[in-house]
Amino acid sequence: MAALNYVGSRRGKLLFAAGVYLALTALTVAFLFPLVWIVGLSLKTRLQVFANPPLFLWWPTLENYVAVFGRADFLQAFINSLLVSSGAVTLSLCVGVPAAYAFARFAFFGRSFLFFGLLAMRMLPPIAVLVPMYVLFSKIGLTTTRSSVILAYTTFSLPLVVWIMRGFFEDLPRELEESAWVDGASRYQAFVHVVLPLIRPGLVAASILCLQLAWNDFLFSAVLTNNATRTLPVLMAAFSGGDTGVDWGGMTASGVLVILPVIVFSFLAQRHLVAGLSSGAVKG
């Protein structure tokens, strides 16, 4: 922020600023190009996709999107993704928010056990949980169901909820509940009627972050679902599994439709994105 002060003359400052803008523009173009190109492909007809040399200017068509919305497997996967992500978020919030409150306010037996457990859940490789989970779930007939995916997703969304919400609870003045307790409210009443309404922004941030992680997950749902219950990333991987085939327009259009909701959501929660994903290591 201060670097500008160290450049001497007015001319030097202008040159410096121009250099910075130039570098940032180049970086932005480089980082966004793959995405822009893919969006471009999704707006091309099949002939245009494979044109040689590639077309940089053309009249965009929406036919690929129309075709994707007509596909039963895409719509089914979209619904599945929606169901399992929102299911995982709801379950994690219901279970994790009271625990986060306890973490922020009380000393209790097993506190450090729970702390390390949640940290391990977030940090250890998911495949290590997935192997036994698959065996256990298949024996109780839970594999290929959406519930199994929801349960599996809580391995990453639960720690995230507890971490984010703990931070929000800690920022809340303790006097609020204490005065409610003195007025005769039970801990439960104080939590539900005093604390929760004040913590609403935190709940929104935590849900968006969990929703994003759940929506983006591939490994768990690849193993735990079948063709009827698979989520969007699994369908996308099936599209591109072996050869990329010839339906580039259709594949890119569905890719764009998969990432559109997450990008919108992420911009809504931009402020909490990094703090949340670094799981308590950095205070937002």
Partner: protein
């Protein structure tokens, strides 16, 4: 923390006896236990028990048609198989190389971007917003985008360089491609993390150095980097933990090939468990992987603790 709340609780109990019937107070005392109970149960069900079972499984010869506990006891057979398997040992080596390469590239790119974004110029926030887009993209879709860009016949990258390079078909270029996708997605994340660090640095040391006539490079080298060190540590450790488990980009781009050149530990375990359905071997592989990442976690936690203590 605990002391303060118990005092308040005691005060509450004596001050309002009429409104607090006996059973209500008992239930109230159980509040904390009830609040953490669901989390504890869920954690044990989806994490604790599976890991214990996986440890058990790794000492058995289990097959999908057998009952849960019916596998024959094979002692450390699965572990011995793995540790004498050149493919698995190669996969450990590859995972370490991949992790080191991606994390250092992410750190260098991330630091560069963060330093640029930290300069106080108008409209710089627009670049910040645009640059973080890649980190939001679903990893499978990101990998898939790159697969089309790198396509040997119709990919735009080959068109630009004017050569017919089969990026994903040759060991060296395949590893480079999967690493590139990871760096593309995660460098912005590192940048945002370090930018938060840069913004929180104190101004005084910089001012003092400037008055003493230090050059921009000297200030960067001897003031910014040392002060930023805790943030760099956190970024490196977080990225190490997440690159160590790399799976999505590799699955989509190469599936571990060609010739095992991108066979990371996650990919190896996935293939053993869910393609060859040797789940006992998969359990053993995942436990070895777990132990390795536990070492990383211990380093991570001690760093976080040291920061908390400061």
């Amino acid at each position: 923390m605990g002391g303060a709340t118990t005092t308040v609780h005691a005060g509450l109990a004596t001050a309002t006896p009429a409104r607090m019937p006996m059973h209500g107070r008992w239930l109230d005392r159980q509040f904390v236990k009830l609040a953490v109970l669901p989390t504890t149960v869920l954690m044990l069900c989806v994490f604790g028990l599976p890991l214990l079972f996986s440890c058990f499984l790794s000492f058995r010869g289990w097959a999908p048609e057998l009952g849960l506990f019916d596998g024959k006891f094979v002692g450390t057979g699965n572990y011995e198989d793995l540790l004498t398997d050149p493919d698995f040992m190669g996969s450990i080596r590859l995972t370490l190389i991949y992790t080191a390469a991606t994390v250092s590239a992410e750190l260098i790119c991330g630091l560069g971007i963060a330093l640029l974004l930290n300069i106080d110029l108008p409209y710089i926030a627009i670049f910040r917003t645009l640059l973080i887009v890649p980190m939001m993209i679903t990893p499978v879709v990101a990998a898939f985008c790159w697969k089309l860009l790198l396509d040997p016949d119709h990919g735009v990258i080959n068109y630009w360089i004017g050569e017919h390079v089969v990026w994903l078909g040759r060991p060296e270029t395949a590893l480079f491609a999967v690493a590139l996708v990871a760096v593309w997605q995660s460098a912005p994340y590192v940048a945002i993390l370090l930018l938060a660090g840069l913004r929180s640095l104190p101004h005084e040391p910089m001012e003092a150095a400037r008055i003493d006539g230090a050059s921009v490079w000297q200030m960067f080298r001897h003031i910014t980097i040392p002060l930023l060190r805790p943030y760099i540590m956190v970024a490196v450790l977080l990225r190490t933990i997440f690159e160590f488990r790399a799976f999505d980009n590799i699955y989509v781009l190469t599936g571990g090939g060609p010739a095992n050149s991108t066979m990371t530990l996650s990919q190896f375990t996935y293939l053993a468990s869910f393609v060859r359905f040797d789940l006992s071997l998969g359990a053993a592989a995942s436990w070895l992987m777990l132990l390795m990442s536990m070492v990383l976690c211990v380093v991570f936690m001690s760093t976080v603790r040291r920061r908390d203590a400061n």
